[in-house]
């Protein structure tokens, strides 16, 4: 039900023209859009009732993300809710939660998370940014890349290294850093999909002790869970996008006439569509399974890797096949298909591409 109503609302309030204009906008969303999302209860969807939210499940959020993936809804919703709110709810103490969650639910607070550095990967070894103890607090120095929506965020959750352990998973701490803090430089990346990501530079950024989200030096389990949620949430957007691409391709093939008949009657194109449908169907249930397990609080590392490994490549195949089915119009700027294709390529990489997740699964096969 949430899914249906979300689809209607998105089609009405956030049409593709808005998506296009937001690609060129420095901010990437409008205050009206954000207000609408807050009023619709979306920003508080997963936030506990005591902080003004609806206390929905991860699956509830998932249905909404799938629709946003279908509509390519711009703005920092994913960053604030899927990266921010859920991580604070998972790892933050009451003080942290009360500081941040109400603001998220009522639309005042925008959040994001900064993990990847030089290699663009998402393993624990990627966390090298140093947080040195200074008195009872910390000083952060280093840089983070590809941080979504950092240019408009109020807070960023930063994965930092507070000590060196025997292996890379030890010595990681998550910090909640106010973006207005001195010493932070934000440089927006210029990206192909025109979604907003930034390079963050931290120059001796001072943080009080209570900035840590969870236990110092023991942040990896929480970060791992956050990355699993992020990969799955991104996967849900991708499922929505893939289905939209299939749908628009089917419409086109039914209408377009060549050689005196709808091009959808040609077996080669029919088989292209069958392959797309298989990819969409497989993606959906692989991602749903991961979302289900996260939602139920079950261990999900294997299922998340299966899901993201599959959907990353499947969505790209779907887009490439769709362009081929459309012919020349499929790669024009005016056609909506290219909006999906460009994003699919970036989403493929976010929170681990197929190779990254296969390597995780192979480690399990080794066991």
């Amino acid at each position: 039900m949430l899914k249906t109503s979300a689809r209607e609302v998105l089609a009405r309030e956030f049409p593709f023209e808005a998506v296009r204009s937001m690609e060129e906008d420095a901010r990437g969303y409008t205050p009206e859009l954000w207000r609408s999302m807050s009023e619709l209860g979306w920003l508080g969807l997963v936030v506990p009732e005591e902080y003004g939210g609806a206390e929905g499940s991860f699956l509830d959020l998932g249905m909404l993300l799938e629709e946003m993936g279908r509509a390519l809804t711009p703005g920092p919703f994913f960053s604030t809710v899927a990266l921010g709110a859920l991580t604070v709810m998972d790892a933050g103490d009451e003080a942290m939660q009360s500081k941040l969650l109400s603001g998220i639910a009522n639309g005042e607070t925008i959040m994001t998370m900064a993990v990847t550095e030089g290699s663009g990967g998402f393993g624990p070894e990627e966390v090298r940014l140093r947080a040195e103890r200074q008195g009872r607090g910390f000083a952060l120095s280093g840089r983070k890349l590809f941080v979504p929506d950092a240019h408009v965020a109020d807070y960023v959750i930063v994965a930092a290294r507070t000590s060196e352990g025997a292996d890379a998973t030890e010595g990681i701490t998550l910090f909640v850093v106010p973006m207005k803090e001195k010493g932070i430089t934000v440089t927006p990346h210029r990206t192909m999909a025109l979604e907003k990501q930034s390079r963050l530079k931290f120059n001796e950024v001072r943080l009080p002790a209570n900035s840590a989200l969870g236990t110092v030096d023991e942040g990896w389990p929480a970060l791992q869970r956050a990355l699993q949620r992020a990969a799955t949430a991104k996967g849900l957007e991708m499922v929505g996008g893939a289905e939209a691409v299939l749908d628009m391709t089917l419409e086109y093939l039914k209408d377009r006439v060549q050689f005196g008949r709808p091009v959808g009657t040609f077996q080669a194109l029919q088989h292209h569509c069958a392959n797309m449908a298989i990819d969409v169907e497989g993606s959906r249930y692989a991602v749903y399974q991961a979302a289900y397990r996260i939602s139920e609080g079950l261990p999900a590392s294997r299922e998340v890797s299966v899901a993201k490994a599959w959907v990353s490549d499947a969505y790209m195949r779907v887009c490439a096949t769709a362009v081929q089915c459309h012919g020349a119009v499929g790669f024009t700027a005016e056609h909506n298909l290219q909006l999906f294709t460009r994003r699919a390529r970036v989403q493929e990489q976010l929170y681990g591409d197929s190779g990254f997740h296969r390597r995780r699964l192979a480690a399990g096969l080794r066991g």
Partner: protein, 385 residues
Amino acid sequence: MDFRFSESEEEFRQELLDFLDRELPDGWGEGPVPSPDEEWAETLRMRRKLAERGWLTMHWPLEYGGQGASTILSLIFNEEMSYRGAPGRDAFGARMLGPTLMIYGTEEQKRRFLPSVARGEVQWCQGYSEPQSGSDLASLSTRADDDGDFFRVNGSKVWTSLAHRADWMMVLVRTDPDAPKHRGISFLLVDMKSPGVEVRPIMNMAGTHEFNEVFFDDVQVPKTNLVGEQDRGWYVAVTLLDFERSGIEYAATSRRLLDDLAAFVRESRGGIDGWVADALAERYVETEVARLMAYRVAWMQSEGMVPNREASMSKVFGSETFQRVADTGMKVLGLHGQLTEEDRWAPLAGRIQDAWRHSFSNTIAAGTSEIQRNIIASRGLGLPR
């Protein structure tokens, strides 16, 4: 869609696994692929055991000797049986003939044919394809002429699995050669011991006898063996094609092959690394996706929905996944992969090359991948014909 099984479903799975541990011969599925004769002997033995527990026809309604089991229980049954390579199930009698008779059969036919299937005492086979009618099944030309209380059947069928073991056959025959091709077909039950029935083996690429040609020379079939209306047999057959095709067998056998391969590499090479690790992980993802697609089909059925494109998608993807796993297996084993079970140095007792050789039929039998993709596109996605 649920992604967890209920407690009673998990209990059934455990009961089945315990049963298999107990009843399967020691080392079943770990040595060389059994010969057809060994396999058949085990099939008969296990089938009786399955029938004793009511599992052979567990998905049938109680009134016909079944347990009224849900499609989910049935899925679990098929998944575990397939993963273990356990013999004994009855694709033709229990999963095809039974449901068909329940819909189209007369009371007399049900009383006569169903109990022996439920008891695992009879082997059925299916006479559909003909030398000139493969994907275009409805063009079949085996004819049944009216002969009083009998039909007189002449013609031949091909690719008939188990015909050489079967007691009875479900046969599609042409009863009206002048009608449009789908409208002159009837569905007959033929006793394989009838005079004029001849079975000739077809050997396959794996060197085994699985398929047959079956010839009918003036075979008399009583009219009481006609299922459904005369000339309406096509619709009987089509109904039947839609039963219980989750595709879980493809996913489960793929996964078993992959697990065997991974275990072999781990043990013989001290670990799974490099391109082998990447290839096995890729196959692992595919077997998981195949499993989920099959679950989806079963879940739809359990909710009273009719899977359509979902069943075809599961079939295409599952059968192609099995081929990819077998292909990866051959690449991973290198030159050793060619050794057959007769060679004492054959890795995994030659099971990978055997699977690879059998894998070709997966995307052809029960509707080629091309036909399945046609169905997905036209019936499933609504593309114009």
